[in-house]
């Protein structure tokens, strides 16, 4: 252990890491928003009560949940363009993979939330002349919103960690920058430790808030 730490490398290249952090945050935000919207749409399949909508939606969710995210990202970058007949940029492939993966998990959260509402609510909405989509929008979703919040914050935290896999497709987010710097300067110990700390600083406030929220909601029930 006569290793001399040298954090000068990190300090000198901090702007590069910071640029990576920005891209990480962007990836996270875009995939989260798109994933939530797509997830809601997909969750309507299982709740619709229509077989031809339910089965593909369940299949979609199961496929994305039962395969590794890294495989999904690699599939979208290397395999999908062949069917598409057009090369995708790393960032497009990464956003696609992250969004679809997140949407599958969000669909499950929406589905569980919607199904947790008693059937009588649907019937009551119907009795006062609401259509199914109106009942969903005006009666069901407002009630489940709060109940689903802890699950969504957990998903957002998972997604923040998963964005790091985009580095495998050479998307210049913070993990990629860290790998690049550590092989350029041959200071992996300092650089990778700093990258880990950067992630911790980014993600920990979210986990802390989520834990607080969960406790608060649990107390109220």
């Amino acid at each position: 252990m006569d290793y001399t730490w040298d954090f000068k490398v990190v300090a000198d290249n901090f702007p590069i890491l910071l640029r990576g952090v920005w891209l990480t945050v962007e990836l996270w935000a875009v995939a989260l928003v798109l994933g939530l919207m797509l997830g809601l749409l997909i969750s309507l399949g299982p709740v619709s009560g229509k077989r031809w909508l339910r089965i593909p939606a369940i299949g979609y969710v199961e496929v994305f949940r039962n395969t590794p995210v890294l495989v999904q990202l690699i599939w979208f970058y290397y395999a999908f363009p062949i069917v598409l007949g057009q090369q995708l940029s790393p960032i497009t492939a990464a956003i696609m993979g992250l969004t679809l993966n997140t949407s599958a998990y969000c669909a499950e959260i929406f589905r569980a939330g919607i199904e947790s509402i008693a059937k009588g609510q649907w019937e009551a909405a119907k009795a006062i002349g609401m259509t199914r989509s109106m009942a969903l929008r005006r009666v069901i979703l407002p009630q489940v919103g709060k109940r689903m919040l802890p699950a969504f914050t957990n998903r957002a935290i998972e997604l923040a960690k998963v964005t790091s896999l985009a580095s495998v497709l050479a998307v210049h987010e913070v993990m990629y920058q860290g790998r690049l710097l550590s092989s350029t300067y041959y200071r992996p110990l300092e650089i990778l430790t700093v990258v880990a700390l950067v992630y911790f600083v980014l993600i920990y406030p979210g986990s802390w808030l989520s834990a607080r929220l969960e406790r608060k909601l649990a107390l109220r029930d």
Binding site: M1, Y3, E62, V63, N66, T67, P68, V69, L70, V71, Q72, I74, W75, Y78, A79, I82, V83, G85, I157, A160, K161, V162, T163, S164, L165, S167, V168, M175, G178, R179, S182, P188, L189, L192, T193, V195, A196, Y199, F200, I203, Y204, S207
Partner: protein, 221 residues
């Protein structure tokens, strides 16, 4: 979209993929076993009344829960050897990364199970003249175990999916082998779709088995 599927290229290298599948199963099982040991130690540290024992375990768990697994893989492979002055092969680095990470999550599963047991159980055991240790072993843990089953299985699935990251260290698990087959055949669509299916079948059949086991266990209770 006039793509001619050709699985013969994949089929002629199926032996390579099966070796990869075996590598995935092997690394997952070893990391589950080691992760349980790490998790049990961390959980008992976190349950200790002594702040100096509890603190480090809490820090360890929080650190792992709030940083991406790929950072752990790279850290163990490139940075740890500098600290210990000893090179690690991809297999050792991957097992270390997986088992410490899953250990942190298992610790939360174990701790959650134990703290979910009502206080009255402790008091009852104490009233019977049991020491804290005896109460833990004879009264609390047997009841808590049943509650741990579902989250434990869930975590083990996450871990199995995370094994795909070992490919970034060139450990011959399924994804890495697929990348090799792809570079021989140049059939990314077929190769990556095949391994996605293999992962799916592995995880899906395991989840069926887990559901059966869970049902049987809950019936006993």
């Amino acid at each position: 979209m006039h793509y001619e599927w050709d699985f013969s290229a994949v089929w002629s290298h199926i032996d390579l993929l099966l070796i990869g599948l075996l590598g995935t199963v092997k690394i997952a099982l070893i990391s589950i076993v080691l992760g349980v040991v790490v998790g049990a130690v961390l959980a008992s540290m976190r349950l200790s009344p002594n702040r100096w024992i509890r603190g480090p375990a809490t820090a360890f768990v929080e650190f792992y829960r709030n940083t991406p697994p790929i950072v752990h893989f790279f850290w163990f492979f490139y940075a740890l050897p500098i600290v210990i002055g000893l090179n690690l092969d991809p297999y050792a680095a991957a097992v270390l990364a997986l088992s410490t990470q899953s250990g942190a999550f298992y610790a939360e599963v174990f701790r959650g199970g134990i703290t979910s047991i009502e206080r009255g159980q402790w008091e009852g055991a104490q009233a019977l003249g049991m020491t804290r240790h005896a109460a833990m072993r004879r009264v609390i843990v047997p009841q808590a175990l049943r509650r741990m089953v579902a989250p434990f299985i869930e975590r083990s699935f996450e871990l199995t999916k995370t094994t795909a990251l070992a490919s970034t260290l060139a450990y011959a698990e399924l994804l890495y082998q697929a990348q090799q087959v792809n570079s021989i055949t140049y059939r990314p669509m077929e190769v990556y779709t095949t391994i996605a299916l293999m992962y799916f079948l592995l995880l899906f059949s395991a989840s069926m088995a887990a559901r059966l086991a869970e049902r049987r266990l809950s019936r006993v209770g």
